[in-house]
């Protein structure tokens, strides 16, 4: 976060778009509460306001149209029928797209943009459209527009003398306008002479506190154009009698009067007020102002004032009952990350301290150990607290996914709806960010390949609208994201056939249902017969799987023919720490994630069985499991005194088991994850690094990719399939 105002705008847009989405989802669900409609109106309005400040014209124009339709809805001039709701949903999606384009660059989808604008226009009455885009009813250029370069305007070189007669009506004093300030503003424009005309002032006894008796005659010599002089009086138009006469320029005067006339007859002021103003001109300025001014002046009409006072009170009373949101604090992400790093250091520091105390050879360290334990617990507390700051609800992510499903449905001609659950589940911010692409892909896939066409669903005895359920929950220290569709399920014969065609499995392979389903994740697998414009973008589910494993997570699929498929993604709660088993391999200390380890065992020679030339299997209670030597997979060489004698039994996503051979195991501990991004390229078999108690760096291994790199394990897997087939 650089803290620039434009950054704030885009951040705020995210929140506003979220609010819009949320509101529309509520409306879609049948909640037509006026406050919901109002909230959406305000959100879109704020986007427009901010966009205007940064000159984002496309965004302003679209938000304006969108907002106008909402204004119609909240004024009860439009019914929220299904067709309109769908249009509003699509418009909201497009608004998000426009914000993205404004922020990240890129092209807006012009045809789509125009289609939506036209569709929205159909809901906007003609005059409404005209009115809102009309500039102020001034004859000349609208003063506010002119002011951009005040002071820097290429002013006419010669000076002009303006004689100004300014006589406030009493109404002006109720609006907080002060003649004195107006004169100060005039004085800035040039040479000003002010003469007070107090002729109308009655005797002291006849004086009415609320009346306006004073008038001023001003002479202004300035190089500024007339429009700037007039602009000074912009706020008091209609609240005073004003004449501005350019010296010896009758024509200009006539123009000015015409302009003022035009202004006075502009829609807001009822005609009567113009007459009244005209009448007042001829009479004493103290004449009662009877014309229906736009709103009653408080002092003049106590009854009306009372009414008015009570109205907002009732409203505010209602508002106050609504519990306000919990107070929050906005913090730059970088600061939190610095804190997280510092806490990580603190934990490493603790283990270093503990190790050094252990090395001290002091007989009684009990007291120190107690204190150290306290240190450790405090560090953990701080760590949990800091991690909690990074945790965010998955709600915004899920809301974006609703849009993905809508777009995908529209593109494929299917009807589906996304149902979300557990939106308030909190997950690390980075996890949420990096989940966006895989989820998008899975959902597109679910719409494209999972959900059937409405007719097909009907003939299968299902409701026409497909349902995709996206849920998030916490499960014993992990986050579980589930995507469940009620579509046709994985077409297993087809999947298997493709896998055979692509040489992913031997022709005679005998696979379990689960194994076939998992073929979807195999690199180079894609079920789309032709490149559909949705999921078939050249990336397969293997990319999804890589993204998930890149986050230290796992993904599973289960499917029931005719009933649908479920993808389950299990992710660590945080990316910053994990529980690991510290092992040594060829003189190097490494860490294996605890989550992937099923059991550990010390091997003896009689447990090892050779298979072929260089394959080895470990026999565990009668079962044979391929051995994968970690040193070999990482290209490390053992010294003559070292040998792999300890096995970590791990299980892969496909349910395949493998024994990772390491030299020794030490202990199990929480480690701080240090990314290797930017330090080196991707290393097969290595997920990240960590810093151990002695200050040394240790690689954190990725068992899946180690197994993939191991010839034995891969070969065994194929062999098993072959043997199953025969």
């Amino acid at each position: 976060m650089s803290g620039s105002i434009q950054d704030t705008f885009f951040e705020e847009c995210e929140e506003l778009l979220e609010a819009t989405d949320e509101g529309l989802t509520a409306i879609e669900g049948g909640d037509h509460n006026p406050e919901v409609v109002n909230a959406i109106f305000r959100a879109v309005h704020s986007i427009k306001g901010g966009a205007g400040a940064f000159g984002l014209d496309d965004l302003v124009a679209f938000a304006h149209r969108f907002e106008t339709v909402f204004d119609e809805v909240r004024s009860n001039r439009l019914d929220l029928d299904e067709k309109l709701i769908q249009l509003l949903l699509r418009s909201s999606d497009h608004l998000s797209a426009l914000v993205e384009v404004a922020r990240d660059g890129g092209q807006i989808d012009e045809p789509h943009h125009d289609t939506l604008l036209a569709a929205l226009d159909e809901y906007i009455p003609e005059e409404e459209e005209d009115l809102t885009f009309e500039p102020m009813g001034l004859g000349g250029p609208a003063p506010m527009m002119d002011l951009g370069g005040l002071g820097g305007v290429p002013a006419k070189p010669q000076e002009e003398t303006y004689r100004i007669r300014f006589q406030p009506l009493k109404e002006m004093y109720g609006t907080g306008n002060e003649p004195f300030f107006l004169f100060q503003a005039l004085k800035d424009l040039g040479d000003l002479t002010v003469k007070l005309d107090e002729n109308e002032l009655p005797g002291f006894d006849a004086m009415d506190m609320d009346e306006a008796y004073l008038a001023w005659d001003l002479v202004l010599i300035t190089k500024e154009p007339r429009s700037v002089v007039e602009a000074v009086f912009e706020f008091v138009e209609g609240l005073c009698e004003l004449s501005i006469a350019g010296d010896g320029d009758a024509e200009a005067e006539a123009n000015a009067l015409a302009a003022l006339d035009a202004m006075f007859s502009a829609p807001p002021l009822p005609e009567a007020s113009l007459e009244a103003a005209a009448a007042a001109e001829g009479e004493a300025p103290a004449a009662p102002f009877e014309a229906p001014v736009p709103a009653p002046v408080p002092e003049a009409k106590p009854a009306a004032a009372e009414e008015k006072a009570s109205a907002p009170k009732a409203e505010s009373g209602k508002q106050e009952q609504r519990g306000g949101p919990k107070p929050t604090l906005r913090v730059e992400l970088e600061r939190v990350d610095r804190l997280i790093n510092a806490v990580g250091e603190l934990i490493i520091n603790h283990s270093m301290l503990a190790q050094q105390i252990a090395n001290l050879n002091v007989s009684d360290t009990r007291d120190v150990e107690t204190e150290l334990e306290g240190f450790k617990n405090l560090a953990r507390d701080i760590q949990e607290g800091v991690m909690a700051i990074r945790a965010q609800p998955v709600k915004p992510l899920f809301q974006r996914m609703a849009r993905i499903v809508r777009e995908a449905s529209a593109a494929t001609g299917k009807t589906c709806k996304l149902v979300t659950e557990g939106e308030n589940t909190e997950v690390d911010k980075t996890v949420i960010e990096r989940l966006s692409d895989p989820l998008t892909h899975i959902l597109r896939n679910a719409v494209d390949h999972g959900i059937e066409k409405p007719e097909d669903r009907e003939s299968a005895g299902k409701v026409r609208t497909g349902e995709i359920r996206l849920s998030a929950s916490h499960r014993s220290g992990s986050v579980c994201i589930e995507i469940r569709d009620d579509g046709a399920g994985v077409n297993r014969p087809r999947v298997k056939q493709i896998a055979i065609e692509k040489g992913l499995i031997p022709e005679n392979a005998e696979l379990t249902d689960g194994e076939i389903d998992n073929l979807l994740f195999a690199p180079g697998f894609s079920t789309a017969k032709e490149i559909s414009n949705l999921s078939g973008r050249g990336v397969g589910m293997d990319v999804v799987k890589n993204a998930v494993t890149g986050l230290g997570g796992r993904i599973n699929i289960s499917s029931a023919p005719g009933k649908g498929s479920t993808f389950t993604i299990i992710l660590p709660l945080t990316l910053a720490v994990m529980d690991g088993m510290v092992v040594s391999v060829a003189d190097q200390t490494m860490v294996v994630p605890i989550t992937s380890i099923v059991e550990t065992m010390r091997g003896s020679d009689d447990m090892i069985n050779s298979l072929g030339a260089d394959g080895t299997l470990l026999s565990i209670r009668g079962n044979f499991v391929p051995i994968c030597d970690v040193a070999g997979a990482l290209g490390l060489y053992r010294g003559s005194d070292q040998q792999a004698g300890v096995y970590l039994l791990v299980e892969t996503e496909t349910g395949q088991r493998c024994a990772l051979a390491v030299d020794d195991i030490h202990d199990q501990r929480q480690v701080v994850i240090k990314s290797l991004d930017g330090v080196c390229g991707e290393i097969p078999g290595v997920a990240a690094a960590t810093i151990l108690g002695d200050g040394k760096i240790a690689m954190i291994l990725d068992p899946e990719s180690i197994i993939a790199a191991s010839p034995t394990a891969a070969a065994f897997d194929t062999e098993r399939r072959m043997s199953n087939a025969s």
Partner: protein, 124 residues
Amino acid sequence: MKTKVLAIDDSRTIRNLLAATLEEAGFEYHCAVDGREGVDMYPDVDPDVVITDINMPNLDGFGVIEELRGHGINSKVPILVLTTESAPELKARARGAGATGWITKPFDDASLIFALKRVTGAAA
């Protein structure tokens, strides 16, 4: 003495824009995130001028003007409304409620300062 501005707007972007411009120009800037907060803050801040948005949750801009003016004692404090369009009926309604003037969004620094100048006499 710096001129005190109380800005009431639910948009963080607009608040930041106002803050940047006003603080740069030497005004003392206070802000509230909705109409209710603005009215509540008013006595404490005791501003020389109020700038308020129209469309806000928890009391809109008209409500702000009416409540501030409704106290009677505040008939003097200038209140400028922020409007997106220069829609005449909005201005008329705001003025009817007692607004002093208006600022059209998007505003630039010069027009904002000029508007403040005309209602407070202060350039800062």
